[in-house]
């Protein structure tokens, strides 16, 4: 007892969960708060004689070169959100309420398109509609010139098709838990048809729709890969941040920091605006009495079914395009009409390490996420205190930080001794874990709230100490849910580009980075092969996810 002394006494005093809380805090401070506040501080750095300065912010709002990108970002994100809602709400409504055949297939198509990265969409639309695109060339044969898809239009097209599934799935979810007696009550009171939808159904699912819309807005605002590939002259804010940081001049770190802060403020305000207005009025419904699925007459049936599948196929066309083009022979930058597996053999000699790394890093990150998710959610839910509430808040913050900004804050914080992490696999894994931690914590705490406390109490009552009970009962019961959350995070991690672009080095490049560099180097064949490998991995893990959750898991 004596010789184990001080350490043991301290350990016993704060207890296991105290140590857990301290550890998580330490990790959050080191890897999140320190880099984040470092960036915020840097954004107020003036020229050498002045410590505090608003110069960067003033320049940003004074010079069109800078503030134009903010306008561009808002224009793209707002219109994307609008179109995603216009596409997602009716589509979700039709599939949920009418007897469209093959709903599971439709949903699977939408989910796959949702989970694959936006830059693959950008790439595919370039292959189809770009300057030398497949459809462009076909139309050219009959002398039709289609307008360019680079710039504003392309961004809008890619983002809308990529992100409307969020709205679609939120609407479906809301309609499935909708209490039909409310609609019946409306009919009973003499209101039916479109009027019933507008006065009862849509007002009730409006909070859900806006929640989906906010995600669309935030995602399109934060994305870096798509505008880099397809934006060209039409610069949006994340691209400017990237260029400002990655410029040959050594980068204007102060300006890049100030712009990062501005993006975060934008995404945060949109989120808060939704939360404190419409989001507040969210109605919970039992879902025990969902509305019946209506049978359509032959005419509308054919039209709506065709329309639904058309939308789903268009949403999935990036995956189809990459799969097909990956087997088309390429000659330099040009696809020629013959089949070949050369793209895959090229990938093999040139980029096989990228594939191994992608899966390795994502898997390590997933293990971290699961461990952190279980422990953190436990202290947040079962050891409620002001301290754990603060922890919860800190760990939710990456939700509003775009991936590229996370990349920049990490590289700025860890590219000098004593934390020399630049260019290592570790920094990528840290970034992946940070980016996904809000989602993991949300899903894990959700699971824990649903777990009845009495299971733990029963175990303690039967003589198993609390800590052992945690490992024998709570952790075991949480695991399936947390693992399926982990799989979803794994999927988005293998597809991650925004922060990887900034953090990778020659020895840590991933598939998504390779796709990006191959595209800018005209290597469309290899890019397609890599994208197909990513899609395959995504589909397989989705399958696993469905098995684990018995088809009841939600991917959003």
């Amino acid at each position: 007892m004596n010789d184990q002394s001080a350490w043991t006494r301290i350990v016993n005093r704060i207890g296991f969960w105290g140590i857990v809380i301290i550890t998580i805090f330490a990790l959050a401070i080191l890897f999140l708060l320190y880099p984040l506040f470092g960036m915020i501080a840097r954004s107020f750095q003036g020229s050498e004689d002045r410590i505090f300065s608003l110069a960067a912010y003033k320049d940003f709002f004074r010079l069109p070169y800078y503030y134009r990108t903010l306008k561009h970002s808002f224009a793209v994100s707002s219109l994307t959100t609008l179109f995603a809602v216009l596409l997602g709400v009716p589509f979700g409504f039709i599939v949920a309420r009418y007897n469209i055949p093959g709903k599971k297939i439709l949903n699977a198509m939408v989910v796959i398109s949702l989970l694959s990265p936006p830059f693959i969409g950008a790439y595919s639309w370039i292959v189809l509609l770009g300057r030398n695109g497949f459809i462009t060339n076909l139309l050219r044969l009959i002398n039709i010139e289609i307008p360019t898809i680079y710039g504003f239009r392309g961004l809008l097209l890619v983002f809308t098709l990529k992100l409307f599934p969020f709205v679609y799935m939120y609407v479906q979810g809301a309609l499935q838990s909708f209490d039909n007696s409310l609609e019946e009550a409306a009919e009973n009171l003499g209101v039916s048809g479109v009027k019933k939808l507008l006065t009862v159904t849509f007002p009730l699912i409006l909070p859900t729709i806006t929640a989906g819309a906010v995600i669309v807005f935030m995602t399109s605002m934060a994305d870096l890969g798509t505008p880099l590939l397809i934006g060209e002259g039409y610069k949006v804010l994340p691209v400017l941040v990237y260029e400002e940081y990655m410029g040959e001049l050594g980068g204007d770190a102060v300006m890049a920091s100030a712009m990062s802060v501005i993006i975060i403020i934008c995404t945060l305000s949109v989120l808060l605006l939704q939360r404190f207005t419409i989001g507040r009025r969210s109605y919970s419904m039992s879902g025990l009495n969902p509305p019946p699925i209506k049978k359509l007459k032959t005419g509308p049936f054919i039209i709506l079914t065709t329309l639904s599948y058309l939308i789903a196929i268009i949403a999935l066309s990036p995956q189809i395009t990459t799969l097909v083009t990956s087997f088309i022979k390429t000659q330099g930058p040009i696809f020629v009409p013959a089949f070949s597996v050369k793209s895959y053999t090229d990938v093999w000699y040139k980029l096989s390490a990228n594939i191994t790394r992608t899966f390795l890093y994502s898997t390590i990150a997933m293990v971290f996420m699961i461990i952190i998710g279980i422990f953190t959610s436990y202290v947040i839910v079962r050891r409620k205190s002001n301290l754990t509430a603060v922890l919860d808040f800190i760990l939710m913050s990456p939700y509003v930080i775009p991936g590229s900004v996370i990349g920049i804050i990490l590289i700025m914080a860890f590219n000098k001794p004593p934390f020399m992490l630049a260019g290592t696999a570790s920094i990528l894994i840290i970034s992946y874990t940070i980016r996904k931690i809000p989602y993991i914590i949300r899903s894990s705490t959700g699971i824990l709230y649903q777990l009845d406390l009495s299971s733990e109490e029963a175990s303690i009552n039967l003589g198993v100490p609390p800590l052992k009970t945690f490992f024998k009962i709570t952790a075991v019961l949480m695991l399936p849910g947390v693992i399926s959350g982990g799989i979803l995070s794994w999927i988005s991690t293998i597809n991650e580009l925004s922060s990887t672009m900034i953090l990778y080095s020659g020895r840590t490049g991933t598939i998504s980075v390779a796709i990006y560099t191959e595209i800018i180097k005209d290597g469309y064949g290899t890019a397609a092969a890599l994208a197909s490998i990513l899609t395959l991995a995504t589909v397989l893990s989705l399958f696993l996810f469905n098995r684990l959750t018995k088809g009841k898991g939600s991917v959003i």
Partner: protein, 354 residues
């Protein structure tokens, strides 16, 4: 081994709210003791203080001579049956029951034997290898009970164990529980809000309200001689009528009957009458003049809602086997009370005068 349980002036506070306000109880070894009260009365809080899931702010709780205030929950050696059973969903029936035995480091052989015995006791032997999801509510209830008693706890704690079962199963299970409890002679603290269940199952009952004990006694005592209007109202059905007491007589206008008061009392009081404690007559007698408001046929008896001239309504039951004519709404009747059985309460303190 089963132990007596003594609770001495314990207090539980949540911020400014006092959930348990100085409760003292002595429960005998082997006794089936019920904490009864409406939701929020503190009964579950007290049970969880015994189990160790709630801290004890003041006072003390002891199993036999062992004060358990400072002993952590997992070392108290209580067996607890939870309202929702809390069967571990990832463990089989066998592993659920063996769980506490493994924690007590019994040999595999001993565990096997004990689990076998207790499964026999709750008649679930053939379900040994089932997963909890394959069991019905009643079966899960038996497993929860088996899991709690197999560790031979000093005290068995049950938190509304029957509230999730349907009516018929509830009656069946309460006799199963009662028999097993008597069989093992295990000190049991049982929490329920269902007065009928409490009356049926308990050796003794503590009726609780607002964190204090209102009355402590056998089911019969509590039913026949409630110590205050709260208990009279909560247990069974009582109709309350404002009366005057003078010279040991209860005065109700022209009608009066003797009152068996424990101390002399004069002035305003409350009369509590149960439906079986009053009589109706179509012929005029000394009783109160009243009108039948409503008659409900309930099989072996008829329940009447009777409107007194004072404007108060009372419930009266007439059993078919006692004969008499069936009355209908609007009939003029005369009401008399069973002076031996009715209860009287002080108007201001609401405490029993009998």
């Amino acid at each position: 081994m089963s132990q007596p349980l003594s609770i001495n002036d314990v207090v539980k506070k949540y911020g400014d709210f006092t959930a348990i306000d100085g409760v003292t109880l002595d429960i005998q070894s082997g006794e089936f003791f019920t904490l009864l009260g409406p939701s929020g009365c503190g009964k579950t809080t007290l049970l969880r203080m015994i189990a160790g899931f709630n801290t004890i702010e003041a006072g003390q709780i002891a199993f036999g001579k062992r004060v358990i205030n400072k002993i952590p929950a997992h070392q108290r050696n209580t067996g607890m049956v939870f309202q929702n059973y809390a069967i571990f969903p990832h463990l089989s029936v066998y592993d659920n029951i063996a769980y506490g035995l493994k924690a007590r480091k019994f040999s595999a052989k001993a565990i096997d034997q004990k689990v076998g015995e207790v499964l026999d006791l709750v008649r679930m032997s053939e379900y040994k290898n089932r997963q909890p999801s394959q069991l019905s509510g009643g079966q899960q209830q038996r497993i929860a009970l088996a899991r709690a008693i197999v560790i031979q706890p000093e005290v068995l704690l049950m938190d509304e164990p029957l509230s999730n079962l349907d009516a018929k199963l509830r009656v069946e299970m309460r006799s199963v529980i009662k028999k097993i409890q008597k069989n093992l002679n295990i000190t049991t603290v049982y929490v329920t809000h269902d007065q009928e269940e409490a009356l049926a199952i308990s050796d003794r009952i503590a009726v609780m309200n607002l964190g204090t004990i209102q009355q402590l006694g056998t089911p019969l005592e509590i039913y026949t001689r409630p110590s205050n209007t709260f208990v009279a109202d909560f247990i069974g059905t009582s109709s309350f009528i404002d009366v005057t007491i003078k010279d040991s007589k209860v005065l109700l206008g022209s009608y009066s009957f003797p009152a068996a008061l424990k101390h002399p009392y004069h002035g305003q009081a409350i009369l509590a009458v149960r439906p079986e404690e009053s009589f109706l007559s179509l012929e005029e007698n000394e009783g109160l003049k009243a009108t039948i408001n409503f008659a409900t046929f309930l099989g072996d008896f008829i329940n009447y809602e009777v409107l007194l001239e004072s404007g108060e309504t009372i419930q009266v039951n007439e059993y078919l086997k006692e004969g008499g004519t069936i009355k209908s709404a609007g009939d003029q009747v005369y009401v008399t009370f069973d002076a031996e059985k009715v209860n009287l309460f002080d108007l201001s303190t609401k405490e029993s005068l009998i």
